[in-house]
Amino acid sequence: MGQFLHEFFSPLDFLRSVPQVWNGFQLNLELMVVAEAFVLVLALLLAIVRGLPGRVAVPFRAAAIFYTDIFRGTPLILVIFLVQGFATLNYLGLSSQTLFRNGVIALTLVYTAYVTEVYRAGIESVHPSQRMAARSLGLSYMQALRYVVLPQAIRRVVPPLLNDFIGLQKDTALVTIIGVTEAVAQANFYSSDWVNFASLVVASVFFIFLTIPLARFTDYIIRERERRERAQAV
């Protein structure tokens, strides 16, 4: 027991590893923010394409479905290796040295597939009569989507979006395998150098401390909206 506590919770190693792990964790934060920004935009575009009506849009819809099938079905760790491999061909300004960029691309490819489905579920949950009412007022298809359908759809999917956002945060740790010196890599370095695992616990604490406020913040947003828009006595 004493051995266990020493290996994982030694106060000295805990404190001593914090700066090093924090150093790496900043990379996780950057990966997360950049990838999430791309994901939120690209997934919305894909979800819109998937919902386009008519025969003309068939190839576009098919392409969107193909994309989500492929990248939802492939383990992220494989996608990271594949992107890293692709980067060695030096296309599109990528190289085996552009680790951060390669990591962002892999994370974006996979999470865009997940988040597309989340948006799509939200869009489909808005009753067709809402779109019909918007169209009946003379709004175009895209205007009805933008002003009437999407605002309602996105509000409804805030909790699942946050869920995927948390998943993305945690999965930024996976890019350690192509040599990005993020929090897990730094924690590993520390634990090999000092033969102590407290640094890994420190890394875990960083990740947990990042997700909890986000979850509470989402709860708050949802509650506020309910308060504002719903009738009080039901």
Binding site: A133, R135, L137, G138, L139, V148, Q232
Partner: protein, 251 residues
């Protein structure tokens, strides 16, 4: 005005849903500033007919002319057309994420390109007319059903349509809330708005309509003045329908 001097003119309008033909060659003429009421049982095709006139449903055969324009043609700009034809639904269909004012100003601002200040000024004036100006910044869910439906009517009026289609707009309302909505429709009729109403409110239809059409299984079985339809219907089916409605205490 179309060739025959009517504001709205339907000829042979036919609508199918898969194998089910819900409208069989409807012919209907409506003069400007007139009110036509469509009566008939649920499923007789009243709502579908209204939706066809707003091109929310694709017409399978026949022509519809509104204000001299054949809207069933292929080159029609449906968005521009719908700004001229307002429609109000049974379930209000207000946008729950927008305030009353935003609901009313959305189409003028985005579809007509009117500035926000002008659109809001117009919207507030319309809301004032129906006594709901103080609700402008409320969300729809905080309003009563009657208030919501009146806002929905104002929303449809905000693009200054020349024709209003009202699809059983009081059917979802509690009896004590129906009056305020009908009062607004009465005012519109008095102001000369051309309207087509699908309704179960027979006494109201009798009061405001210039013409009553009895729809039965997708055809206009009988049409005439309120007096003709309600006092001396010629068709057996019309008599049966009115007798049933009378039993239900709706007249």
């Amino acid at each position: 005005m179309s060739a025959n001097g009517q504001f709205v003119s339907l000829q042979g309008v036919t609508k199918r849903f898969d194998d089910l033909e819900v409208l069989h060659g409807i012919d209907l003429d409506i003069a400007e500033h007139n009110v036509v009421c469509l009566i008939g049982a649920s499923g007789s095709g009243k709502s579908t007919l209204l939706r066809c006139i707003n091109l929310l449903e694709h017409v399978d055969a026949g022509t519809i002319v509104v204000d001299g324009e054949t809207i069933t043609g292929t080159k029609i700009d449906v968005n521009r057309l719908r700004q001229k034809i307002g429609i109000v639904f049974q379930a209000y269909n207000l946008f729950p994420h927008m305030t009353v004012l935003q609901n009313v100003t959305l189409a003028p601002r985005k579809a007509l390109g009117i500035s926000r200040a002008n659109a809001e000024g117009h919207a507030r004036a319309l809301l004032r007319q129906i006594g709901l100006e103080d609700k402008a910044d409320e969300f729809p869910d905080r309003l009563s059903g009657g208030q919501q439906q009146r806002v929905a009517i104002v929303r449809a009026l905000a693009t200054s349509p020349k024709l209003m289609l009202l699809d059983e707009i009081t059917s979802a309302l509690d009896p004590q809330l129906i009056g305020e909505v009908l009062e607004l429709v009465r005012e519109l009729a008095g102001a000369g708005m051309t309207m087509i109403l699908a309704t179960h409110e027979m006494s109201f239809a009798r009061e405001v309509a210039n013409k009553i059409c009895f729809l039965d299984a997708g055809v206009i079985r009988e049409e005439g003045t309120p007096e003709e339809i309600f006092s001396s219907p010629r068709e057996e089916r019309t008599r049966e329908f009115l007798a049933r409605v009378l039993e239900g205490g709706r007249l």
